[in-house]
Symmetry: C2
Subunit: 387 residues, 2 copies
């Protein structure tokens, strides 16, 4: 049930002293040749490691990924880029692979240089510690304000998908302060990982939000080494795609559930929008509204705030279409607004999860979103601590 659940993957997590005394350097590698693909944060400010990873993925098939927490190595100029390259090169020399076969991920504070005098010895320890049962250590080493390690494994018929992720703040579509490493022993060709990854990520990691912020460091990586030896058919491809999506879904739910200060999870479902793009714009706007999220925190079915947010969803330079008189709104299946008329019924939102469903009556567009409340602890965590 970890990033090493698939055959021929090893991992480790060690404390290099970058971030207090916790584990802060993780390593994942395939013991046999692998292929890989990644989806990157769309933030225009890209951490040095992301720039290095783009170049490395273009140059060679990846076989390992080294990850540090504590320092994001973002907005660090030429020194930061050189440090990311040096980290990959040092790891590669210890593993006996080419420098371009090692990917580098960093998460933590932006604008601070990596302490190379601690990171490089940490990499050496991580290489020494590599083990088939090292997935939990690796998942712990990538945590920042996460309170729980996030791991998954999905067993297919003759193959396995494993994975780990970190989340917590800056969680938002197009990848936030979120890192996810997925591994599989399913056989893929050189250019196939991204083709399988994209639809799985769009439906999962790209449909969650904790605070609407989008980090400079995020990446979802898939490494595939074919070690299962399974014979590929269209049916096994379909089964692999499904398993990958389940693994992404599992990790993305763990991320939201462990979002900074989260006490309530909410599923936002929008149906009947003009089209799917408008539905997603509206669902996203509701999922990121501070007033909606504070009401969730207060267990207050203050549905007017949902309507307010739905009516101001940025779309194409204006707002997405909504006609209040045709709109029906449900909280936990209880209708609070029936085609524009309030029903006066008070739904029960006392639980730790809440389903908010909006039917717009305008077309066939649907979208869903997983979000969380905005709590006092979210403010405490982000106001008190340079995370």
């Amino acid at each position: 049930m970890s990033v090493t659940s698939a055959l021929c993957f090893e991992a480790s997590g060690v404390a290099a002293g970058i971030r207090y005394s916790k584990k802060d350097v993780a390593l994942v590698r395939s013991t046999v040749p692998a292929v890989g693909g990644a989806m990157f944060s769309r933030n225009k400010v890209q951490a040095a490691c992301l720039q290095v990873n783009r170049a490395n993925l273009a140059a060679a098939d990846p076989q390992a990924v080294v990850i540090n927490s504590g320092v994001a190595n973002s907005a660090t100029g030429a020194t930061g880029y050189a440090n990311a390259v040096a980290t990959a090169a040092h790891t590669a020399s210890l593993l006996g692979v080419e420098p371009e076969q090692v990917l580098v991920l960093s998460t933590g504070v932006i604008g601070v240089q990596l302490p190379m005098e601690r990171l490089l010895p940490g990499v050496e320890s991580a290489v020494s510690a590599l083990a088939a049962d090292g997935g939990r250590d690796a998942a712990q080493a990538i945590m920042t304000t996460d309170t729980r390690a996030k791991e998954t494994a999905v067993a297919g018929d003759g193959f396995t998908v494993g994975g780990m992720a970190k989340g917590s703040g800056m969680i938002h579509p197009d990848l936030a302060t979120m890192l996810a490493v997925l591994t599989t022993d399913y056989p893929l060709d050189h250019d196939e990982p991204i083709a399988f990854l994209r639809p799985a990520v769009d439906a999962t990691f790209n449909a969650i939000s904790v605070d609407g912020d989008c980090s400079t460091n995020d990446l979802v990586l898939l490494l595939a080494n074919g070690a299962s030896g399974i014979e590929r058919t269209p049916a096994t491809d379909t089964a692999f795609a499904a398993a990958l999506r389940v693994a992404c879904e599992d990790l993305s739910r763990q991320i939201v559930a462990d979002g900074e200060g989260v006490t309530v999870l909410a599923e936002i479902q929008v149906d009947g929008a003009v089209d799917a793009a408008q539905a997603k714009a509206i669902a996203r706007r509701i999922a990121t509204s501070p007033l909606v999220k504070t009401a969730l925190f207060g267990h207050d079915a203050n549905w007017g705030r949902v309507l307010m947010a739905a009516g101001s969803a940025p779309y194409n330079g204006g707002y997405a279409d909504i006609d209040a008189d045709r709109t029906t709104l449900r909280y936990n299946d209880v209708v609070v607004l029936d085609r524009g008329t309030p029903t006066g019924v008070e739904p029960d939102v006392s639980g730790p999860s809440c389903a908010i469903a909006l039917e717009l009556g305008l077309g066939d567009g649907s979208a869903s979103y997983l979000t969380s409340d905005l709590s006092l602890d979210y403010v405490r965590i982000n106001g008190d601590y340079r995370s």
Copy 2:
């Protein structure tokens, strides 16, 4: 120093029992014929009163505005619309003007019907209480979670601009849970108020943010009755436009300073963007980022979060342009990032206000934004109370 500072305006504020025991019905009227114009919230969900006001402004020159707090009369269907029309008609009959000459504003909880059995007697009390010194009462009656009444007056050479506003939550460009009534004795023609209002509002009310939320009820109204008798020239028009902008600036600053839970004000200045529209997109994104705002609350110059936000500013379906290597960032005039390289200098952000300036080095686009921190009290106010 109020909405009645200009000649021939009267106002009142009374307690009608709509919202606890505080004043909750305000009335402002010109004692002589006036002209008026308004800018409306762009939210696709428009409160009933806004729909009525559009119709009334198209049909007649306004002479009075009646405002209730406690209930927003938004998402209230046909009954809500009828109640807004009835409120205008009742006020008009008491004032001896046409129903279309009365505008109606509501602010408060969405999805609840106006208690007409209390509102209409309240209107009668408000009409009886009208007085040239009733501006303060009116400003108090429109408060919801505001902690202070917001009033202004700007004396020109031979004319005056007065005003009042409410703010607090859902404060965001394109008008939020914000109401502002501006009055002047400067002489304007029937169709001129909106022409003067638009540039003043764009530079002030439309460049502030408390929580990024945008309400269904917002409106900025200008009533002009010409009672000053001043002879208009191009020079007096320029002076009037300047005075109107100062009044809007004053009220908008009061709104942000009294935003829900606000403890820190921040001026966001973006220069060197590709163009002004991209500069505004970037400034807005920084001003609304929960991570930037919680760092302000914590008096933490965590400037990486500013860069993160700047790099993910929605623009034209993608993100606005920024090149981290050309970006310089200052906190209170201290350079923390110099064309992509961190300086390591720690600025002092211990005070109640903070100036954040980003120079992108890409073009001539500039924009500024006034925002606030995201505090524990913001969450308390919006989590604990159905406002």
